[in-house]
Amino acid sequence: MMNADREIQELLADYAGALRDGCLPMFLKSLTREEAKRISESRDFWEATEIVRLMNSAGFGDKMVTPDVGLFISRVDAGIASRMKKAQASTRNPSRSHVNLQ
């Protein structure tokens, strides 16, 4: 990912590697203006990304470390409780009712 001006095949290879290694933000940050333009104009790149996602899923989806579902559910519950609290607070205080709950 260190090349200053990557061709489209190098950009795809780097995108694929970043997706596989779970570091897409690094790939996005590495793009120069020229490279972003190249991606934007390349139909081949966009078509290829779909296959890369499928390859990533077929090759590594099963190897993903699945977390403890029980623990995850408690996180979801906490998130929901927090949203309920915000919703109640906004109905109690009409002057704040315009606040976007999202």
Partner: protein, 171 residues
Amino acid sequence: MEPFVRATFALFIGHLHRYLGNEVECEDVLEDVYADIWENPDHLRDVEDERHLLKTVYLYYMRKRLREVYRRLNRRASLSQEDLQNLMAPDLGLCDLVSQEELKQLLHKMLGKLKARERKAIELWMEGMSNRAIANQLGTTVGAVKMLEFRTILKLREMLKEQCRASGGEE
């Protein structure tokens, strides 16, 4: 909510992995997705089967959250907002709703139709090898491997289109 989470967790997190490739981010996104579903479950009212459920959840709940994950990067990224969205949370493609098992079978079938060198490059990549290691295995340069992968991926895409046409699917 708990029975729904238990019943759908593996399906949803596996699907998210296609777009994020990172377990921690998958969990964070999914946490918000479930809270969104709890807040507004209307879209799921008429869901008929697992594939329909996944499609509905992706289009109405996951996509929005996937886009948010990377929106904050946009100030530093050179990609336009639209390209960033298409890269991170694209429209559903040809096989995006295919199960893990079906996908593996399909890829296996398509890989079998490739030339030996093309197949080897893709298989090694799917084993987790770096492009440098693949280049060493194939006795070539990293640049040549990237070009080989690119061409082979486009070839696979054409095969997939053909497959979909033959089975009367999308496109």
